[in-house]
Symmetry: C2
Subunit: 181 residues, 2 copies
């Protein structure tokens, strides 16, 4: 099952409200093209991501992303492709709070809350908490996932080329490219 | 002659005020490290740039820049280095107004005002005007320069690796790496 047109439009509006709170100025075209990714899970409020891609060339990429309150971007990594190293990305929190999980020593009591029935698709638990102005740079091919705090979050991403269709998700049921009914 | 410590500190404060107006949230460390570049010209109010570098790895770079009212970043390009193509960069206006000049058909009546005595160091006049939310992606090795409108400007830069020391300026008297007295 995939998102209905109404679910998609509503999510766009909610994302635009968070961009507004973060004082991120967008063109009308960017607003119209705002991507809502539910990863084919049909649990958008729990797992999903709202994305504006500013630029994505062969060499570099910049995006502005929204997470709704407690929304999770599911665990994944960016593998090498055709002999090129995988995507390297820096997340910079602009608004709200982001709980970011990467490979490394697991944090004993994490702040994130996992969606019921999906716990097994989360395997890395080294926690980093990002407040506005704080950022973290991920090495290529590193497993990671992240969740917004209670007020949602706005996150800038600075990276090498994005090839979303090549991302490897831990949850084998995920479809990264969204379908709209 | 180079900037005095007081000139440098004052410029940092003025840049922070513009970042505040643009609702850009910075850490204390970023504020302390804010770079003031006068290009060795000692005409900071006319020609200079204030820069916070978020990240600059071998593969990609993101910066947040301030231009004071009518301040110019002088004409330059980013050449190929060691067989790698030059820096590719996207400028995104976040606050104020930016007049950007690149190679191409010269605009007949440009909005920028050139600093007296320095006119000969400006040779490209194809004008692009960027308002908040608007952006432009420059190809590598393209001559370009830019000036803020009357209220100053805040500009995000998304790019491949920055090698400021390798930039080629049209004005042969320019020293990109600043000296502080």
């Amino acid at each position: 099952m995939s998102l209905t047109k109404k679910q998609y439009d509503d999510a766009q509006q909610r994302a635009l409200e968070l961009f507004y709170k973060a004082s991120i100025i967008l063109t009308n075209q960017e607003k119209a093209n705002l991507e809502v990714a539910d990863f084919g899970l049909n649990k958008l409020n729990e797992m999903g991501l709202e994305i504006i891609t500013y630029v994505n060339t062969e060499r570099c990429c910049a995006k502005e992303m929204v997470l709704f309150s407690k929304q999770i971007c599911p665990e994944h990594c960016h593998p090498s492709i055709d002999g090129n190293p995988g995507k390297e990305e820096t997340f910079r929190c602009r608004y709200g709070e982001v709980y970011l999980y990467v490979e490394g020593a697991p944090t004993s009591k994490i702040k994130a809350i996992l969606p019921q029935g999906h716990e097994k698709w989360f395997t890395v638990f080294h926690e980093l908490i990002l407040h506005p102005g704080e950022q973290y740079t991920l090495s290529p091919n590193t497993l990671h996932w992240f969740q917004a705090g209670p007020n949602g979050a706005v996150v800038s991403e600075f990276s090498t080329k994005s090839r979303d269709e090549s991302d490897i998700f831990t949850d084998l049921g995920i479809k990264r490219i969204p379908e709209i009914q």
